[in-house]
């Protein structure tokens, strides 16, 4: 009854809402389709049943209580997933492991099979959208025959379909009466005559039921009168679901009540949804701990749906005009923040801008600190809604001991905004020191802009949590005090909020409510994945490409300033002096002009030649000083760090919301944590912990292949005030160019572990906030009980040669002292700094250089037909390198010289780079390298470093494609599943490659789900009828590329077979227009599955049944599961 008012327009409205949701599904869908996380994770395998009772999970063997195989679950027979069809209920279950469904399992995980196709099932008054089998099962329960409306193709249409059979009074024994359908009445009484098209209370029927005496009650959406027997009568109040009213039964009786919502004096319609935010949003201003919240008005009540925490989802909203006014629709959808960072890898700034500006989750930020002339201009695509981080690190000793700083991964996203600006200052007699180059870098604006960049990346930088607590999580360093940019005040930081956009967040480029038909759905899904990026989100988070992309914007050089102030100052002085040498032409010209003028004055004064020469000399000296300039190179580093919760925070703030979570709770304070998780008393409270002023001790750890301090390094001179980091060998000083690791542990006065944040500096004078660097390299700002750092130093002798240092400076460089202070979680800092001493062997350098890494890797494949290859060789110390195609040659005899970077400030994590182009690869694949250092001893490698490259033997090619070009795929229903399959051959490793695909309307290639071998497969489970052109691209390890395309068509055959003839031919013979299976029964209401199967010929078009003199009811089904209508054939007796 409720639906009788739901007209076609309303149905369209609902279908649009469904489409909105489908679009949300699509975001999620692509998460799955694009990733293969943990595929090769060591120690993991497919577990039949975990210790916790979960089926078919990819876990470690120790977590498994059932069968465990070192493989992904999809590759095992028992845990591969598919569709499970319940034989009892006819319901289908998606993504079911095979072991749970042996008897009725289909490989199609999405259940795109005939048995699972939903149809419109009509059972008496009700219609429902379910499988045919389930319809029959429910019909059996109800004892009524099922009916199928095959013309109805959607759930919405089906639900709107039924008006119900006409009801009337059914007279039972003893003046009793029920208001029911004719069919029910016949089943109750066995007679049609007892049914009357009127109410039971009609006086003419003489029943005991009295009109209206049962009061009012609800029948679906409307209010009805009821008679004394409890039968509904005429409508009392006509509620209108579409206009926002619905029958509600209360103790006061039934009446129409509004199902719209009144929220803060604002009326919201039933089904309307909208977004709310904790604070400002957009342009990177979402505060730490904030969450996007979706509100829904449904049946007069407001429901709250918090979007995924850590701002992994954002709430987007769009207002549309309907017949009844404006209505807002919202959705929690995946935040595409990672894609924004990925855009920074574009070839050109135009492309970057184009991509960034069209993605509503990104914004473009330009920082220009050139101040006239310079090069510090940065344009970056940044997340509009920065992602949240895991703020409180709960790491054990082993986690901290693991070295992450050496991997290619960024320690934190915040690192992306850690940038160095180099200023050039000049001095002259008349102007003094004046900045000439990148002069904006020492301004407050620089700090502000860089901090905004930093804050946009996530929970980084100087910003606030959703409670307004500020943390200044950034560092600024300058090699010259005068050129130090000022830090921001808390007030400046609060001003970042003014950058925010006007809420709500934009839905995206896919128009959520635009009328989409099935033909363009396939074109929209990939668009969504491109625009909203879940595919890339996953890809990025699991793929090194992302780190490569962001690394390209981050400084790749080792920051020496963290180790020694002496060194840092020295660096500036030495580089500046180099510039000064280059820039002394002014002095020389001045001297020449001054000398000439002096000489001319002498001549004019008619003094002696000797005096003229003296005048010339004086003039020259004056001219020299006037023309003299000095140049200073100043490095200004902005280090973006992870935001940290305040030491003392208001944990209770979290409990004010119903959506308090770990993330929100922990953002409020270092001691805030969720307690009683999973119970009704779950809440955010302050942890009671034992803290005191940090007691610092050297940290030793050994286990699982890890050792702190590094093998061969020991702690000595250990006292309450500090310790020394020494080598076990020689004089205890550490060999140059050797990276060592050491650590400290933080204890309370009672000797228990406590959490603290630690800083390190070369000056004991600085207080905690002024100290230069954080002790921990991997988790710089984190509060941890253990902190690890590393030490790497070049040879003081090499520096001496390179920068012409004095013995005193060499001594200062080789003997170092660091000061450490730690702040505990209550904000208390140890007043006396802890001293850590170490020394570096100052030489002479007796060791030859060492090649540490090459790109491409040694033994790598190169493209087919390529004869030259650019390579990079990393050496552990400043050196010159050469190469030859012959082995055993002396360094001096080697024909080819590499271009080596010997500046110690250019050290990368792999060493100092040397570049060259190897030629003649076809004739010889082995190359021999030798390097010689630049120390006084000119130590040279005695043995060749043998480097080999393998040439691909043929081109990479795609040898087989499925669906084949111009293939027509016929399916009985949509969406249907299509498997893209490729076979590759040739190339570097017999076709082993990574393949991607894209449809003609897509911009980006999408990686196959199964790839990285010579067989590549991608299941597309939401395909609909239409023509498709798909492009394939495969790349192998050598960089060989193979491309191909395939055009195919999907035809949906959803029409049952047509019976073209029925006649007698030694029995009943039925001819169908297509290959089918036919069944018959003599009862009109037969169920196809239970009917007798006719014998078919090979072609499946002719079907036979024994001849009987009866009414045959025949139904045929094609191979796609489409059933035709029931055909009645009357067979008469045959007389011969």
């Amino acid at each position: 009854m409720i639906y009788k008012y739901l007209n076609k327009r309303a149905a369209t409205g609902y279908s649009q809402i469904l489409i909105l949701v489908l679009s949300m599904f699509a975001f999620s869908y692509v998460i799955y389709s694009s990733q293969n996380v943990d595929a090769a994770e060591p120690g993991y395998g497919c577990c039949e049943k975990t210790n916790e009772g979960h089926l078919c999970q990819y876990v470690e063997e120790g977590d498994c209580s059932g069968k465990w195989v070192r493989s992904e679950c999809d590759k095992t027979d028992y845990c591969r997933t598919g569709c499970c069809i319940s034989q009892k209920t006819g319901l289908c279950n998606k993504n079911v492991p095979k072991l749970e469904c042996e008897e009725s399992f289909d490989n199609d995980v999405s259940c795109n099979i005939a048995e699972c196709e939903s149809v419109c099932c009509i059972l008496g008054e009700e219609s429902m959208w379910t499988t045919e089998r389930n319809c029959q099962v429910e019909a059996n329960f109800l004892g009524i025959p099922p009916e199928f409306d095959l013309n109805t193709k959607s759930e919405v249409e089906c639900i709107l379909l039924t008006e119900g059979d006409e009801k009337g009074a059914c007279i039972l024994e003893g003046e009793k009466c029920v208001y029911t359908t004719l069919e029910d009445c016949i089943s109750r009484t066995g007679s049609e005559t007892r049914f009357h098209k009127t109410f039971c209370s009609d006086p003419e029927l003489n029943t005991s039921c009295k009109s209206h005496e049962g009061g009012k009650g609800c029948v679906e959406e409307d209010v009805y009168w009821f008679d004394s027997c409890g039968n509904p009568e005429e409508i009392a109040e006509d509620c209108d679901f579409m206009k926002g009213s619905y029958c509600k039964d209360t103790v006061m009786g039934a009446n129409c009540e509004s199902i719209d919502c009144k929220i803060d004096e604002k009326s919201r319609k039933n089904g309307e949804s909208w977004c709310e935010y904790d604070d400002v949003i957009g342009h990177g201003t979402d505060p730490v701990g904030s969450r996007h919240i979706r509100h829904i008005c449904i049946m007069g009540e407001e429901k709250i749906e918090p979007c995924s925490d850590y701002r992994n989802e954002i709430c987007v909203e769009e207002v549309s005009q309907t017949d009844s006014g404006k209505i807002s629709q919202s959705a929690c959808r995946v935040n595409n923040w990672a894609e924004c960072l990925n855009y920074n890898n574009q070839d050109s700034e135009e492309k970057l801008k184009e991509k960034c500006e069209t993605n509503p989750d990104c914004y473009l930020k330009t920082i220009d600190a050139r101040g006239g002339s310079g090069n510090f201009q940065l344009t970056a695509c940044l997340p509009n809604y920065p992602p949240g981080f895991d703020l409180i690190k709960e790491l054990d000793e082993e986690d901290i001991a693991k070295t992450e700083s050496d991997s290619d991964e960024l320690n934190s996203l915040c690192d992306v905004a850690s940038q160095r600006c180099t200023e050039v200052w000049k001095w002259s007699l008349f102007t003094g020191w004046k900045c000439k180059y990148n002069c904006g870098c020492h301004s407050e604006q620089f700090t502000k802009e860089m901090n905004e960049f930093c804050v946009s990346l996530g929970d980084c930088g100087g910003y606030i949590n959703y409670n307004g607590d500020v943390d200044q999580a950034y560092q600024i360093k300058s090699t010259w005090e005068r050129a130090m940019p000022p830090r921001l005040s808390d007030e400046d930081i609060m001003k970042i909020k003014s950058n925010a956009i006007n809420p709500p967040a934009e839905p995206g480029s896919d128009a959520f409510f635009e009328d989409m038909n099935s033909a363009n759905l396939i074109t929209i899904l990939p668009k969504i994945s491109g625009a909203l990026g879940s595919a890339l989100l996953t890809q990025i988070l699991s793929d090194n490409n992302f780190t490569r992309a962001v690394r390209s914007t981050s400084p790749g050089k080792v920051d020496f300033s963290r180790y020694t102030k002496e060194f840092n100052l020295l660096r500036t002085a030495s580089e500046a002096s180099k510039f000064a040498k280059k820039d002394n032409t002014g002095s020389i010209i001045g001297a020449v002009i001054g000398g000439a003028i002096g000489f001319m004055i002498g001549v004019l004064l008619q003094v002696s030649m000797m005096m003229s020469m003296v005048f010339a000399l004086i003039g020259g000296v004056i001219g020299f000083f006037i023309g003299m300039t000095k140049t200073k190179i100043v490095h200004i580093d902005f280090n973006c760090l992870q935001w940290n919760p305040p030491a003392e925070g208001d944990c209770n703030k979290c409990n004010e919301d119903i959506f308090c979570s770990e993330y929100r709770c922990e953002s409020l304070g270092q001691l805030c944590s969720v307690v009683n998780e999973g119970t009704a008393a779950e809440m955010c409270t302050k942890k009671e912990v034992n803290v005191s002023i940090a007691i610092i001790e050297p940290w030793e750890f050994e286990g699982d292949g890890l050792k702190i301090p590094t093998e061969g390094i020991v702690y000595s001179e250990v006292s309450k005030k500090g310790f020394r980091v020494s080598s076990e060998e020689g004089n205890g000083c550490i060999e140059p160019y050797t990276k060592i690791e050491y650590g400290i542990k933080i204890l309370t006065k009672e000797g228990e572990s406590q959490y603290a944040q630690c800083k390190i500096d070369t000056s004991a004078q600085n207080n905690y906030d002024e100290m230069q660097g954080y002790f921990s390299e991997d988790y710089p700002t984190a509060y941890l009980p253990f902190h690890k750092t590393s030490f790497f130093f070049p040879s003081p002798e090499a520096l001496k040669n390179q920068y012409n240092l004095s013995d005193e400076q060499i001594k200062n460089l080789s003997e170092m002292k660091f000061y450490v202070r730690c702040k505990n979680i209550k904000g208390i800092v140890n007043p006396e700094p802890f001293e850590i001493k170490t020394c570096v062997n100052k030489g002479p350098d007796l060791t030859a250089p060492r090649i540490q890494k090459t790109f491409p890797e040694n033994g790598a494949y190169i493209e087919f037909g390529k004869t030259n290859q650019d390579i990079v060789v990393y050496v552990n110390e400043p050196a010159q390198c050469r190469w030859s195609t012959s082995s055993g040659k002396m360094f001096s005899e080697m024909e080819n010289e590499m271009k080596c970077n010997t500046g110690v400030f250019n050290f990368t994590r792999y060493g100092l780079p040397c570049t060259t182009t190897l030629s003649g690869i076809n004739s010889s694949n082995n190359f021999y390298f030798k390097c010689r250092d630049i120390s006084e001893n000119l130590n040279t490698m005695s043995e060749d470093y043998v480097y080999s490259l393998k040439v691909s033997q043929s081109e990479l090619s795609i040898t087989d494609i499925s669906p084949k070009n111009n293939e027509e795929i016929i399916s009985g229903f949509e969406p249907t599943t299509v498997n893209l399959k490729l076979i590759t051959s040739g190339g570097a490793e017999n076709g082993e490659s990574e393949c991607s695909y894209k449809f003609s309307n897509q911009e980006e290639y999408i990686k196959f789900f199964n790839t990285d071998s010579s067989y590549h497969e991608q299941e597309l489970s939401s395909m609909i009828g239409g023509s498709y052109e798909v492009e394939f691209k495969c790349t192998d390890s050598a960089g060989n590329i193979a491309q191909n395309t395939s055009s195919f068509k999907i035809r949906i055959d959803d029409i049952g077979p047509i019976i073209t003839r029925i006649y007698y031919d030694s029995g009943l013979k039925v001819v169908t227009a297509e290959k089918s299976e036919c069944r018959y029964n003599f009862n009109r209401n037969f169920i196809y599955e239970n009917a007798s199967v006719m014998e078919s010929d090979e072609e499946g078009k002719e079907h036979r049944a024994p001849w009987e003199s009866a009414n045959y009811y025949i139904q045929c089904m094609d191979k796609y599961g489409n059933k035709g209508g029931k055909f009645k054939a009357i067979a008469y007796g045959l007389y011969f």
Partner: protein, 255 residues
């Protein structure tokens, strides 16, 4: 004299009233304390007794199953509001779609109810036998077949057990007991199956759209700690609920 008599009579009346109150209290206490499992014990109507006794057991089972994701004793579950709730779809890894943990949910719930009620039903028969013995000779078959079926809007339990009552020549024999419990568990299980199917395919379920199409049900989605999601399906007309958990498409925090 009359006054004395009246006073005595008055005291007697008071005593009688006091005794009556005490008796009434005892009766009430006894009535209240009577164990529920005996139900409306009428040994002369075993059909009614067994139905009533079984009905209570089925209700208990339904109450537990409704709040615990379809399981009497959840395993592979999460604590939610102080109660273990089973995962109907679960994946350990992040960024992956969940694996359906409970296909054929309807059959599973039927089996859970059957297993839970079996001992209670046997107790019902035993209690009935004990109560009726003395007045009747009771014979019971050792075999008890219990079949539970979820059907639209009801849960039916069918017990096949031979129960024979003999008093002299008079024999009454019962073989089949059918109990119907009005409960939307079938609808709950169907909706839960649909939710799991959509979650397993799309990482999401459009509960808002579902509620608009089917206003008789209210669905609540509660995602906890970026980890698991609790779905609650409520039938508006009866306020009965079904709660289950899923862990699906979990997105890790950035770092």
């Amino acid at each position: 004299m009359d006054v004395k008599m009246n006073r005595k009579a008055q005291i007697t009346i008071f005593v009688i009233i006091a005794i009556m109150i005490v008796v009434l209290l005892i009766v009430i206490i006894l009535f209240v304390k009577r164990p529920l499992e005996t139900g409306n014990l009428d040994e002369s109507n075993p059909q009614s007794y067994i139905e009533s006794c079984t009905n209570d057991a089925v209700k208990e089972a339904l109450d537990l199953i409704s709040l615990q994701g379809g399981d009497i004793n959840p395993k592979g579950s999460v604590l939610y509001n102080g109660r273990e709730v089973s995962y109907l779809c679960y994946i350990e890894q992040e960024y992956e779609k969940c694996i359906n943990q409970r296909p054929k949910l309807i059959e599973h719930i039927e089996s859970e109810i059957t297993n839970y009620t079996r001992n209670r039903i046997l107790n019902c028969f035993q209690t009935l036998k004990e109560k009726a013995e003395g007045r009747y000779d009771i014979e019971m078959s050792a075999e008890t077949l219990i079949n539970t079926e979820l059907q639209p809007r009801q849960v039916t339990s069918e017990i096949k057990k031979n129960f024979k009552m003999r008093r002299g020549e008079n024999i009454r024999e019962f073989d089949n007991f059918k109990i119907i419990n009005i409960h939307p568990m079938y609808e709950f299980a169907k909706i839960a199956t649909e939710i799991v199917n959509q979650e397993a395919e799309f990482c999401n379920f459009d509960y808002q759209g579902y509620m608009i199409l089917y206003p008789e049900f209210e669905i609540t989605k509660d995602t906890k700690h970026n980890d698991y999601t609790i779905y609650t399906i409520k039938e508006r007309s009866t306020n009965q609920e079904f709660i289950f958990a899923i862990r699906n498409c979990v997105m890790a925090p950035a770092k």
